[in-house]
């Protein structure tokens, strides 16, 4: 039983690191601003989420797990909201998406 929990927590930690790497790659290499910030949002949700889950599994039922879950809650709450704020502000200030001419993106709701 203990080794199963151990394996699971290691899987979560490695998965979390993988997603954080993917997110950094996205921020560096994707061509469009909007797709870049979408990639950045992955760190906060999947990346941190999986890692904190893995750490909670390692800690077992203790105060540390409660603190980890609170941290997870706040990161999940604020991460996507930040990306949303970035996207909305950029859109309002007139930044064009990359596919703006192909898709009919000329009806901005402002």
């Amino acid at each position: 039983m203990a080794t199963a929990v151990d394996w699971l927590s290691w899987a979560c930690l490695l998965g979390g690191s993988f997603f954080i790497l993917v997110s950094s790659l996205a921020v560096l290499r994707l061509p469009d601003y909007f797709s870049r910030i979408h990639g950045a949002g992955i760190t906060d949700t999947l990346g941190a989420g999986l890692m904190l889950l893995g750490l909670a599994l390692q800690a077992g039922f203790s105060l540390i797990t409660v603190k980890l879950f609170l941290t997870l809650l706040f990161m999940m709450l604020t991460g996507p909201v930040t990306v949303h704020a970035l996207a909305k502000t950029a859109y309002r200030l007139g930044l064009e998406t990359m596919l703006a001419e192909e898709v009919d993106d000329h009806h901005r709701p402002d």
Partner: protein, 334 residues
């Protein structure tokens, strides 16, 4: 010293600003060599970072070569500076060599703070606070922390004097009030942020924390509120006058604790007689002075943010934030 001399004599101001940044970097490196890493990164951030940026911005507004000045050499000030400097240098001859293991600080102060020296009490016995850093900061070296709080106070007042003044009309600042996602999520987050700030403030006795950190977190909560709900609403809650009063209030609280202990017969900022026994007195003293520090830090950061949020970049022209706020406001009512 060579760098300082060159900065002084140079008339190309852009190069002078770059050299000032280089000087800060040298100081930061010196501090790192001396094992004072926290001072080093503060110096690097402020001197090589923020100062340089502000100077460059100033240069953009004025010309970039200093005018030639023909002054008679000022003899009396020069003599005064040389005399005082000479006395200071003479004073350093008596100090222990750098890193000397026989220096008094390693023999008397550190053992007293940290471990149970035979026959002496350590800081946990004398002050009863598990976090030695807080014990040293707020009690053994409370006067230095008083000076630090006064520095923050002076910096805030200085910026308010330089940049404040008659810009009393409300421009409004950039806000995203019409965005429901931000409004709802931030209402939750801000409440927890303020709670966390209070936790950090009072947890300084047992773990990392204390007034400075808590003040910044509290100010961050207020700034988040201002970003989303607009400067007008934020200022109706946190009035400018009260914020300015609080900037002084924190320092006043700190000084009053010191004066109270003088009234009770001890030295300035000696907390032993503030309660029925010395350990409790120390607890009350540390609590009150950290509260004073937290209040001043919060108020200074909030005041500076409100100041910058309504600032015009040059007379007669709106700052970019205010300009786009006007755009969004016009579009909103359409």
């Amino acid at each position: 010293m060579a760098v300082t001399f060159v900065i002084f004599r140079m008339r190309d101001l852009f190069a002078a600003v770059m050299l000032m940044g280089f000087f800060s970097l040298l100081s930061a490196a010196l501090f790192t060599v001396m094992d004072a890493v926290d001072v080093a990164f503060t110096e690097a951030a402020v001197g090589a970072g923020v100062s340089t940026v502000l100077m460059l911005r100033t240069l953009a507004l004025t010309r970039s070569r200093a005018k030639q000045r023909f002054n008679r050499p000022a003899v009396i000030p020069l003599l005064a500076v040389l005399a005082i400097g000479g006395v200071l240098v003479y004073g350093t001859f008596d100090m222990p060599r750098y890193g000397d293991p026989d220096a008094p600080i390693h023999n008397y102060m550190a053992p007293r703070f940290v471990e149970d020296a035979p026959g002496e009490e350590d800081s946990v016995d004398e002050i009863g606070v598990p976090n030695i850093v807080t014990a040293v900061l707020a009690s053994y070296r409370g006067y230095d922390t008083f000076g630090e709080t006064t520095v923050i106070f002076t910096a805030g007042i200085g910026v308010l004097l330089l940049l404040g003044g008659s810009h009393r009309h409300e421009i409004g600042g950039l806000h995203l009030r019409e965005d429901i996602v931000l409004r709802v999520s931030l209402k939750v987050v801000i409440a927890f942020l303020m709670l966390f700030a209070l936790y950090v403030q009072f947890h300084g006795d047992y773990g990392p924390g204390g007034g400075f950190q808590a003040g910044v977190i509290f100010a961050a909560a207020i700034i988040l509120y201002t970003l989303v709900f607009g400067l007008k609403k934020a200022e109706s809650v946190f009035k400018r006058r009260s914020i300015e009063a609080l900037i002084a209030g924190g320092v006043l609280l700190y000084g009053s604790v010191g004066l109270a202990s003088m009234v009770l017969g001890d030295n300035f900022l000696d907390y032993d007689h503030l309660a029925h026994d010395p350990v409790h007195g120390q607890h009350y003293g540390i609590l009150l002075v950290e509260l004073g520090v937290g209040i001043t830090v919060t108020a200074v950061m909030v005041a500076l943010y409100f100041l910058f949020a309504t600032r015009r970049s040059s007379p007669g022209e709106l700052s970019p934030a205010a300009a786009s706020a006007e755009d969004t406001q016009v579009i909103e009512t359409a």
